[in-house]
Protein backbone atom coordinates (compact mmCIF):
# COMPACT_ATOMS: atom_id res chain seq x y z
CA UNK A 1 0.00 0.00 0.00
CA UNK A 2 1.47 3.32 -1.04
CA UNK A 3 1.10 6.22 1.35
CA UNK A 4 -0.87 9.25 0.31
CA UNK A 5 2.10 11.50 1.08
CA UNK A 6 4.46 9.67 -1.24
CA UNK A 7 2.00 9.83 -4.10
CA UNK A 8 1.51 13.59 -3.75
CA UNK A 9 -1.70 15.47 -3.16
CA UNK A 10 -4.67 13.47 -4.39
CA UNK A 11 -7.92 15.38 -4.00
CA UNK A 12 -9.96 12.64 -5.62
CA UNK A 13 -8.57 10.06 -3.24
CA UNK A 14 -9.10 12.32 -0.26
CA UNK A 15 -12.72 12.99 -1.16
CA UNK A 16 -13.43 9.30 -1.71
CA UNK A 17 -11.64 8.16 1.42
CA UNK A 18 -13.64 6.46 4.13
CA UNK A 19 -13.19 7.49 7.76
CA UNK A 20 -10.98 4.49 8.53
CA UNK A 21 -8.52 5.04 5.67
CA UNK A 22 -8.47 8.76 6.37
CA UNK A 23 -7.56 8.04 9.97
CA UNK A 24 -4.73 5.75 8.89
CA UNK A 25 -3.75 8.01 5.97
CA UNK A 26 -4.14 5.29 3.38
CA UNK A 27 -5.62 5.23 -0.09
CA UNK A 28 -9.15 3.88 0.04
CA UNK A 29 -9.69 1.12 -2.50
CA UNK A 30 -13.15 0.18 -3.82
CA UNK A 31 -13.01 -3.13 -1.97
CA UNK A 32 -12.08 -1.52 1.35
CA UNK A 33 -13.56 -3.50 4.25
CA UNK A 34 -14.63 -0.46 6.27
CA UNK A 35 -15.99 1.70 3.45
CA UNK A 36 -19.60 0.44 3.80
CA UNK A 37 -19.60 0.97 7.56
CA UNK A 38 -17.60 4.19 7.98
CA UNK A 39 -18.08 6.54 5.03
CA UNK A 40 -16.46 9.95 5.31
CA UNK A 41 -19.48 11.57 6.97
CA UNK A 42 -19.46 9.01 9.82
CA UNK A 43 -16.15 10.13 11.19
CA UNK A 44 -17.41 10.40 14.79
CA UNK A 45 -18.72 6.84 14.77
CA UNK A 46 -15.36 5.60 13.60
CA UNK A 47 -13.69 7.48 16.45
CA UNK A 48 -16.02 5.73 18.90
CA UNK A 49 -15.26 2.39 17.26
CA UNK A 50 -11.51 2.93 17.23
CA UNK A 51 -11.32 3.60 20.96
CA UNK A 52 -11.72 -0.07 21.76
CA UNK A 53 -11.23 -2.00 18.51
CA UNK A 54 -8.34 -2.09 16.09
CA UNK A 55 -9.08 -2.33 12.39
CA UNK A 56 -6.80 -5.17 11.38
CA UNK A 57 -7.58 -7.22 14.47
CA UNK A 58 -11.32 -7.06 13.95
CA UNK A 59 -11.00 -7.79 10.25
CA UNK A 60 -8.97 -10.90 11.03
CA UNK A 61 -11.47 -12.06 13.63
CA UNK A 62 -14.42 -11.70 11.28
CA UNK A 63 -12.59 -13.60 8.56
CA UNK A 64 -11.66 -16.38 10.98
CA UNK A 65 -15.30 -16.80 11.97
CA UNK A 66 -16.26 -17.42 8.35
CA UNK A 67 -19.41 -15.32 8.51
CA UNK A 68 -21.70 -14.80 5.57
CA UNK A 69 -22.02 -11.24 4.22
CA UNK A 70 -25.34 -10.83 6.03
CA UNK A 71 -23.92 -12.05 9.33
CA UNK A 72 -20.86 -9.87 8.85
CA UNK A 73 -23.02 -6.80 8.43
CA UNK A 74 -25.02 -7.69 11.53
CA UNK A 75 -21.84 -8.22 13.52
CA UNK A 76 -20.42 -4.86 12.47
CA UNK A 77 -23.75 -3.20 13.22
CA UNK A 78 -23.82 -4.57 16.75
CA UNK A 79 -20.19 -3.64 17.37
CA UNK A 80 -20.83 -0.09 16.17
CA UNK A 81 -23.93 0.10 18.35
CA UNK A 82 -21.97 -0.97 21.43
CA UNK A 83 -19.18 1.49 20.64
CA UNK A 84 -21.64 4.36 20.36
CA UNK A 85 -23.30 3.43 23.66
CA UNK A 86 -19.94 3.26 25.38
CA UNK A 87 -19.05 6.71 24.13
CA UNK A 88 -22.45 8.03 25.26
CA UNK A 89 -21.94 6.59 28.77
CA UNK A 90 -18.18 7.05 29.15
CA UNK A 91 -18.02 5.34 32.52
CA UNK A 92 -18.19 1.56 32.81
CA UNK A 93 -20.91 1.36 30.15
CA UNK A 94 -23.37 0.80 32.95
CA UNK A 95 -26.35 0.55 30.64
CA UNK A 96 -25.09 -2.61 29.04
CA UNK A 97 -23.95 -4.25 32.25
CA UNK A 98 -26.85 -3.23 34.42
CA UNK A 99 -29.47 -4.63 32.06
CA UNK A 100 -28.18 -8.09 32.96
CA UNK A 101 -28.27 -7.44 36.68
CA UNK A 102 -31.97 -6.54 36.52
CA UNK A 103 -33.09 -9.93 35.29
CA UNK A 104 -31.70 -12.71 33.17
CA UNK A 105 -32.88 -12.84 29.56
CA UNK A 106 -34.18 -16.15 28.30
CA UNK A 107 -32.42 -16.29 24.97
CA UNK A 108 -28.97 -15.34 26.25
CA UNK A 109 -27.65 -17.03 29.35
CA UNK A 110 -25.05 -15.15 31.31
CA UNK A 111 -21.51 -16.49 31.55
CA UNK A 112 -20.70 -18.74 34.45
CA UNK A 113 -19.19 -17.31 37.62
CA UNK A 114 -20.13 -13.78 36.65
CA UNK A 115 -21.63 -11.56 39.35
CA UNK A 116 -22.91 -8.29 37.99
CA UNK A 117 -21.81 -5.31 40.05
CA UNK A 118 -24.46 -3.18 41.73
CA UNK A 119 -24.23 0.08 39.82
CA UNK A 120 -26.49 3.08 39.69
CA UNK A 121 -27.48 3.19 36.07
CA UNK A 122 -29.41 5.59 33.88
CA UNK A 123 -33.04 4.58 33.30
CA UNK A 124 -33.56 1.87 30.73
CA UNK A 125 -35.63 4.18 28.56
CA UNK A 126 -32.58 6.36 27.97
CA UNK A 127 -30.86 3.55 26.08
CA UNK A 128 -31.29 4.21 22.37
CA UNK A 129 -33.16 1.40 20.61
CA UNK A 130 -31.06 -0.83 18.34
CA UNK A 131 -30.83 0.78 14.92
CA UNK A 132 -32.97 -0.88 12.28
CA UNK A 133 -30.60 -0.15 9.43
CA UNK A 134 -27.39 1.45 10.58
CA UNK A 135 -25.43 0.15 7.65
CA UNK A 136 -25.91 1.60 4.16
CA UNK A 137 -26.54 -1.01 1.46
CA UNK A 138 -23.39 -2.68 0.20
CA UNK A 139 -22.33 -1.24 -3.15
CA UNK A 140 -19.25 -2.01 -5.15
CA UNK A 141 -18.92 1.57 -6.42
Amino acid sequence: MTLQGSSGVNNGGYVNQCAACRHQRRRCTPDCFFRPYFPAERHQEFQNFHRLHSNTRLQKKLKELGLSPEEQREAMSSIIYESNIRSQFPGPSVAVTNTFSIFEPKSHSSPLNYVAPVIKSPPLSSIPPPPASLIPPLTTS
Binding site: S78, G91, P92, V96, F100, H108, A116, P117, L124, P129
Partner: protein
Protein backbone atom coordinates in the same frame (compact mmCIF):
# COMPACT_ATOMS: atom_id res chain seq x y z
CA UNK B 1 -3.98 12.59 32.00
CA UNK B 2 -0.44 13.42 30.89
CA UNK B 3 0.94 12.24 34.23
CA UNK B 4 -0.87 8.92 33.92
CA UNK B 5 0.40 8.50 30.39
CA UNK B 6 3.95 9.26 31.49
CA UNK B 7 3.60 6.69 34.24
CA UNK B 8 2.30 4.16 31.77
CA UNK B 9 5.21 4.84 29.43
CA UNK B 10 7.62 4.38 32.33
CA UNK B 11 5.94 1.08 33.18
CA UNK B 12 6.26 0.00 29.57
CA UNK B 13 9.92 0.88 29.52
CA UNK B 14 10.54 -1.01 32.73
CA UNK B 15 8.73 -4.03 31.37
CA UNK B 16 10.74 -3.95 28.17
CA UNK B 17 14.05 -3.52 30.01
CA UNK B 18 13.46 -6.33 32.45
CA UNK B 19 11.85 -8.70 29.97
CA UNK B 20 15.14 -10.57 29.51
CA UNK B 21 15.67 -11.31 33.19
CA UNK B 22 12.55 -13.29 34.02
CA UNK B 23 12.91 -15.10 37.36
CA UNK B 24 11.25 -18.41 38.03
CA UNK B 25 8.26 -17.56 40.17
CA UNK B 26 6.86 -19.55 43.04
CA UNK B 27 3.28 -19.77 44.15
CA UNK B 28 2.66 -18.10 47.48
CA UNK B 29 0.95 -15.32 49.35
CA UNK B 30 0.94 -12.01 47.57
CA UNK B 31 2.92 -9.12 48.98
CA UNK B 32 1.07 -6.27 50.70
CA UNK B 33 0.26 -3.33 48.47
CA UNK B 34 2.06 -0.86 50.73
CA UNK B 35 5.43 -1.40 49.03
CA UNK B 36 7.46 1.54 47.73
CA UNK B 37 6.80 2.70 44.14
CA UNK B 38 8.75 0.81 41.52
CA UNK B 39 8.67 -2.56 43.28
CA UNK B 40 7.46 -5.56 41.32
CA UNK B 41 4.71 -8.07 42.00
CA UNK B 42 7.35 -10.76 41.77
CA UNK B 43 5.48 -13.35 43.80
CA UNK B 44 2.20 -13.43 41.87
CA UNK B 45 1.72 -11.39 38.70
CA UNK B 46 -1.75 -10.32 37.65
CA UNK B 47 -3.73 -12.32 35.11
CA UNK B 48 -2.76 -9.96 32.30
CA UNK B 49 1.00 -10.14 32.85
CA UNK B 50 0.78 -13.87 33.40
CA UNK B 51 -0.98 -14.38 30.07
CA UNK B 52 1.31 -12.01 28.19
CA UNK B 53 4.39 -13.38 30.00
CA UNK B 54 5.49 -9.99 31.23
CA UNK B 55 6.97 -8.74 34.46
CA UNK B 56 4.19 -7.29 36.59
CA UNK B 57 5.12 -3.89 38.03
CA UNK B 58 3.47 -2.27 41.01
CA UNK B 59 1.92 0.35 38.75
CA UNK B 60 0.57 -2.23 36.31
CA UNK B 61 -2.76 -0.86 34.99
CA UNK B 62 -4.34 -4.33 35.00
CA UNK B 63 -3.33 -5.67 38.42
CA UNK B 64 -6.12 -4.04 40.51
CA UNK B 65 -8.86 -5.32 38.21
CA UNK B 66 -7.66 -8.68 36.87
CA UNK B 67 -6.84 -10.99 39.74
CA UNK B 68 -4.41 -13.87 39.10
CA UNK B 69 -7.07 -16.21 40.48
CA UNK B 70 -9.38 -15.42 37.54
CA UNK B 71 -7.26 -15.75 34.39
CA UNK B 72 -10.26 -16.48 32.17
CA UNK B 73 -11.56 -12.94 32.64
CA UNK B 74 -8.56 -11.26 31.08
CA UNK B 75 -8.26 -14.02 28.47
CA UNK B 76 -11.68 -13.18 27.03
CA UNK B 77 -11.04 -9.43 27.14
CA UNK B 78 -7.67 -9.86 25.47
CA UNK B 79 -9.19 -12.05 22.78
CA UNK B 80 -11.89 -9.55 21.82
CA UNK B 81 -10.41 -6.09 22.44
CA UNK B 82 -6.67 -6.48 22.87
CA UNK B 83 -4.53 -5.60 25.86
CA UNK B 84 -3.41 -2.18 24.63
CA UNK B 85 -6.97 -1.10 23.84
CA UNK B 86 -8.16 -2.24 27.26
CA UNK B 87 -5.42 -0.38 29.11
CA UNK B 88 -6.10 2.72 27.02
CA UNK B 89 -9.81 2.51 27.84
CA UNK B 90 -9.15 2.01 31.55
CA UNK B 91 -6.88 5.06 31.60
CA UNK B 92 -9.62 7.24 30.09
CA UNK B 93 -12.11 6.33 32.82
CA UNK B 94 -11.86 8.05 36.24
CA UNK B 95 -10.16 5.87 38.80
CA UNK B 96 -13.25 5.36 40.94
CA UNK B 97 -15.08 3.73 38.02
CA UNK B 98 -12.33 1.58 36.58
CA UNK B 99 -13.36 -1.58 38.42
CA UNK B 100 -16.85 -1.28 36.98
CA UNK B 101 -15.44 -0.50 33.54
CA UNK B 102 -13.24 -3.60 33.70
CA UNK B 103 -16.20 -5.74 34.74
CA UNK B 104 -18.37 -4.42 31.93
CA UNK B 105 -15.59 -5.05 29.42
CA UNK B 106 -15.32 -8.63 30.67
CA UNK B 107 -19.04 -9.11 30.28
CA UNK B 108 -19.16 -7.62 26.80
CA UNK B 109 -16.22 -9.75 25.71
CA UNK B 110 -17.85 -12.92 27.02
CA UNK B 111 -21.13 -12.16 25.29
CA UNK B 112 -19.29 -11.29 22.08
CA UNK B 113 -17.48 -14.62 22.19
CA UNK B 114 -20.72 -16.51 22.73
CA UNK B 115 -22.63 -14.67 20.01
CA UNK B 116 -20.13 -13.22 17.52
CA UNK B 117 -22.82 -11.75 15.28
CA UNK B 118 -25.11 -9.88 17.69
CA UNK B 119 -23.20 -9.72 20.96
CA UNK B 120 -24.71 -7.44 23.61
CA UNK B 121 -27.09 -5.94 21.07
CA UNK B 122 -29.03 -9.21 20.80
CA UNK B 123 -29.30 -9.40 24.57
CA UNK B 124 -30.45 -5.79 24.75
CA UNK B 125 -33.11 -6.42 22.13
CA UNK B 126 -34.34 -9.48 24.01
CA UNK B 127 -34.46 -7.51 27.24
CA UNK B 128 -36.35 -4.64 25.66
CA UNK B 129 -38.92 -7.08 24.30
CA UNK B 130 -39.32 -8.55 27.79
CA UNK B 131 -39.77 -5.08 29.23
CA UNK B 132 -42.52 -4.31 26.73
CA UNK B 133 -44.29 -7.59 27.47
CA UNK B 134 -44.07 -7.00 31.21
CA UNK B 135 -45.41 -3.47 30.86
CA UNK B 136 -48.38 -4.76 28.86
CA UNK B 137 -49.05 -7.37 31.54
CA UNK B 138 -48.80 -4.70 34.26
CA UNK B 139 -51.32 -2.52 32.44
CA UNK B 140 -53.76 -5.43 32.17
CA UNK B 141 -53.42 -6.29 35.86
CA UNK B 142 -53.95 -2.67 36.90
CA UNK B 143 -57.12 -2.39 34.84
CA UNK B 144 -58.38 -5.60 36.46
CA UNK B 145 -57.63 -4.14 39.90
CA UNK B 146 -59.71 -1.08 39.00
CA UNK B 147 -62.61 -3.35 38.06
CA UNK B 148 -62.45 -5.09 41.43
CA UNK B 149 -62.38 -1.74 43.19
CA UNK B 150 -65.49 -0.65 41.33
CA UNK B 151 -67.29 -3.86 42.30
CA UNK B 152 -66.28 -3.33 45.92
CA UNK B 153 -67.59 0.25 45.81
CA UNK B 154 -70.96 -1.02 44.54
CA UNK B 155 -71.08 -3.72 47.24
CA UNK B 156 -70.53 -1.20 50.06
CA UNK B 157 -73.73 0.60 49.01
CA UNK B 158 -75.86 -2.51 49.69
CA UNK B 159 -74.34 -3.73 52.98
CA UNK B 160 -75.39 -0.80 55.28
CA UNK B 161 -78.94 -0.91 53.91
CA UNK B 162 -79.06 -4.59 54.90
CA UNK B 163 -78.11 -3.71 58.45
CA UNK B 164 -81.03 -1.31 58.65
CA UNK B 165 -83.39 -4.23 58.16
CA UNK B 166 -82.14 -5.91 61.34
CA UNK B 167 -83.40 -3.09 63.55
CA UNK B 168 -82.73 0.42 64.82
CA UNK B 169 -85.31 2.03 62.61
CA UNK B 170 -85.69 4.94 64.97
CA UNK B 171 -82.00 5.81 64.91
CA UNK B 172 -81.54 5.26 61.19
CA UNK B 173 -78.90 7.97 60.85
CA UNK B 174 -76.67 6.44 63.50
CA UNK B 175 -77.02 2.90 62.16
CA UNK B 176 -75.84 4.03 58.73
CA UNK B 177 -72.53 5.21 60.20
CA UNK B 178 -71.78 2.21 62.42
CA UNK B 179 -72.00 -0.89 60.16
CA UNK B 180 -69.32 -0.20 57.48
CA UNK B 181 -66.27 -0.28 59.82
CA UNK B 182 -67.67 -3.19 61.83
CA UNK B 183 -68.13 -5.44 58.82
CA UNK B 184 -65.03 -5.14 56.59
CA UNK B 185 -65.75 -7.81 53.99
CA UNK B 186 -62.46 -9.24 52.69
CA UNK B 187 -61.64 -7.15 49.61
CA UNK B 188 -59.22 -8.44 46.94
CA UNK B 189 -56.70 -5.93 48.28
CA UNK B 190 -56.84 -4.98 51.99
CA UNK B 191 -55.43 -1.47 51.57
CA UNK B 192 -58.58 0.12 50.15
CA UNK B 193 -60.19 3.18 51.71
CA UNK B 194 -63.98 3.42 51.75
CA UNK B 195 -65.13 5.69 48.96
CA UNK B 196 -66.83 8.85 50.32
CA UNK B 197 -69.46 9.01 47.57
CA UNK B 198 -72.00 6.46 48.98
CA UNK B 199 -72.04 8.02 52.45
CA UNK B 200 -72.40 11.49 50.98
CA UNK B 201 -75.31 10.26 48.83
CA UNK B 202 -77.08 8.84 51.87
CA UNK B 203 -76.69 11.96 53.97
CA UNK B 204 -77.13 14.68 51.40
CA UNK B 205 -80.41 13.38 49.93
CA UNK B 206 -82.90 12.36 52.64
CA UNK B 207 -85.66 11.92 50.08
CA UNK B 208 -83.86 8.90 48.63
CA UNK B 209 -84.41 7.01 51.87
CA UNK B 210 -87.90 6.12 50.69
CA UNK B 211 -86.35 4.66 47.58
CA UNK B 212 -83.93 2.69 49.74
CA UNK B 213 -86.83 1.27 51.71
CA UNK B 214 -88.34 0.17 48.46
CA UNK B 215 -85.05 -1.51 47.60
CA UNK B 216 -85.09 -3.26 50.97
CA UNK B 217 -88.48 -4.77 50.27
CA UNK B 218 -87.32 -5.99 46.89
CA UNK B 219 -84.22 -7.50 48.45
CA UNK B 220 -86.40 -9.34 50.95
CA UNK B 221 -88.19 -10.87 48.03
CA UNK B 222 -84.88 -11.99 46.57
CA UNK B 223 -83.69 -13.61 49.77
CA UNK B 224 -87.07 -15.23 50.45
Amino acid sequence: MSRERERFEEIGKKIKREADAWPHQMAGIRRPMSGPPGTLNTITPCAACKLLRRRCAQECPFSPYFSPHEPHKFASVHKVFGASNVSKMLMEVPESQRADAANSLVYEANVRLRDPVYGCMGAISALQQQVQALQAELTAVRSEILKYKQREAVATLIVPSNSQVAGFHNSGGVSVIAPPPQRPTTPPQPTTAHPPSPSSCVFSQPTTRDLEYGNIESENNYFG
